[in-house]
Symmetry: C2
Subunit: 333 residues, 2 copies
């Protein structure tokens, strides 16, 4: 078919993101269609670089992760994802995939968003698919829901859509990364036990939590409030909506059957410290994904006082100071 075409190696760099309005629950497990729309900030410090080359002489996909041959399970996962891309392009050729992760995953920060955003971007371009960013966000979504948002920089909205085929479900940038003088402190806790994955957690919650339907309604409301606050550059309201949305997401897990929770002692210590900072007049707000680590959001001018105050807590191992980051870029060889 296209066996004699020449394919070039393409390298893409994509950044992680932190959701302010959380993606929590799927309406379609296969297509990664979410129950509610979400909104995130792309983070400049955490990213993945992935090179894809569809080569004529390979007998199988090869996946090199952080400069080592990946294990069979990981390679199969990437292969299944590439099957999707190959099918779209009508190309039957194996690929060499090399990926380097600059996300501290051992510290409990998720890398699937930047990972699948980089993989989808590199693979699509390497195989010659002519796709715009909207379509790219849909391609990335098939690997990991939140990856759809990592295609873009700055403030990104992922619209849930209503159609069964997912064609109206995609992400887009709503504000650029330079829009606001924000600072995001990604806080790594010293006690980082492995808990239930976000994928398993959201499924269990959708199926068993009596609070879940309320969550879906609240998330849509919060999304509107957050976009309003963004438009009006009202940082205080922006922060309160962010914090409230995260707490409601975590509340749903407490209602699941059996109940579960992602928090460790350090999670609460940071939450309480942030509340105390606000009581003393410093505008700082927290959010947590499906894990114990906390992200604290403040304005650049308050960065030092927030960071120094948090560093007094025993349970904190490290703080990564991030700013809003860019969308996917392609690197020349």
């Amino acid at each position: 078919m296209s066996e004699h075409r020449e394919f070039e190696q393409v390298t893409a760099k994509a950044h992680a993101n932190i959701a302010l309005i959380k993606y929590w629950g799927k309406r379609d497990e296969q297509l990664f269609l979410p129950m509610n729309s979400s909104l995130s900030i792309t983070l400049d410090k955490f990213y993945t670089e992935t090179s894809v080359h569809f080569c004529e002489d390979l007998k199988a996909d090869v996946f090199i992760f952080n400069k080592c041959i990946a294990n069979v399970a990981e390679t199969n996962k990437v292969s299944r994802y590439l099957d999707h891309i190959r099918k779209m392009a009508g190309v039957e050729r194996y690929a060499m995939v090399q990926s380097i992760n600059y996300v501290p995953t051992a510290a409990g920060f998720a890398s699937s968003a930047s990972g699948y955003a980089a993989l989808s971007s590199a693979a699509a371009r390497a195989i010659g698919l002519d796709v715009d960013e909207k379509k790219l966000s849909q391609l990335a979504r098939i690997g990991s829901g939140s990856a759809s948002r990592s295609i873009f920089g700055g403030f990104v909205e992922w619209t849930k859509g209503n159609l069964d085929d997912g064609s109206d479900c995609y992400a887009r940038q709503i504000e650029e990364e330079s829009y606001w003088d924000l600072c995001i402190l990604a806080i790594q806790l010293s006690d980082k036990k492995k808990s239930i994955s976000s994928r398993a957690g959201m499924k269990h919650t959708v199926e068993t939590s009596p609070f879940y339907n309320i969550w879906v309604k609240e998330a849509e409301k919060d999304l509107g409030l957050l976009k309003d606050a963004l438009q009006q550059k009202d940082f205080e309201r922006f922060g309160h909506v962010t914090e409230s949305n995260a707490l409601k997401m975590h509340a749903t897990t407490l209602g699941a059957n059996p109940p579960y929770w992602y928090w460790e002692a350090g999670t609460i210590s940071v939450m309480n410290q942030v509340r105390q900072l606000r009581d003393s007049g410093v505008l700082a707000f927290f959010t947590m994904d499906a894990g114990p680590n906390v992200f604290v959001i403040c304005q650049q001018k308050d960065k030092e006082v927030v960071e120094n105050t948090l560093l007094t807590l025993d349970e904190i191992e490290q703080i990564y100071v991030c700013q809003p980051g860019p969308g996917v870029t392609y690197l020349s060889k």
Copy 2:
């Protein structure tokens, strides 16, 4: 009127209780009528002893608390409560009230339940009211909702009722204190900041949390499940329902606007330790009231392993080992 009758001093002793199905939200603020029925265990270790004497020669109520004259605000609160009793009895005479609290309130354990159960019992008998225990639970309720349960020992159900005047809202014992070989570890955390009171918290939650209506339905369901488990002496199911109900109550606070939470780092540490104990085969379960302290429930045979495991946590200051306790008793002089 009754000015020439003789009144004797009466001393009543009432114990604190811990709710397994939480009382969370009022449908009537004046009459302390709850939105949902609740179920508790009375605790043998924590109690209040209160003496009441309606004396002819007093010019005002006198309230001696822990052997000191109480301040004006506390005395006024007791006076307003006694007004209610005086009105019922048709007696106009001031009282000398002496109360000693054996509840470690400075450690964050609530004393209003045992306090108002002892005060109502002593006052009703001292003024010559002929009331049975059901009526007494309604009298205690007017002082503090959970006090209605402290009239009884063992396992106690407080039925919410439906009538506006509260006449069908009362507590009763459903199982005796000797019924089950239980052990309740009341865990005092070292970090005990003052947080929002349960009274203010439940009001704020009823008014603003989108999860609140779900809570009311869940509490009624959990009550049925817990009574079933009690009847079948199924400790494991009993524990799971208890834990799940507490978590759902706390989930409602995360949805309030603005959100709030009662937990400290130590709260989560104990929760996680209890979960780990269960993973290792020891049946222990937790519950928390409107505060950071945790109550851990296990069977007598597991008491030592549970206590010793919990004592390894830094955040724990002291553990009070309780058993199900008795209802109100009257002490002779």
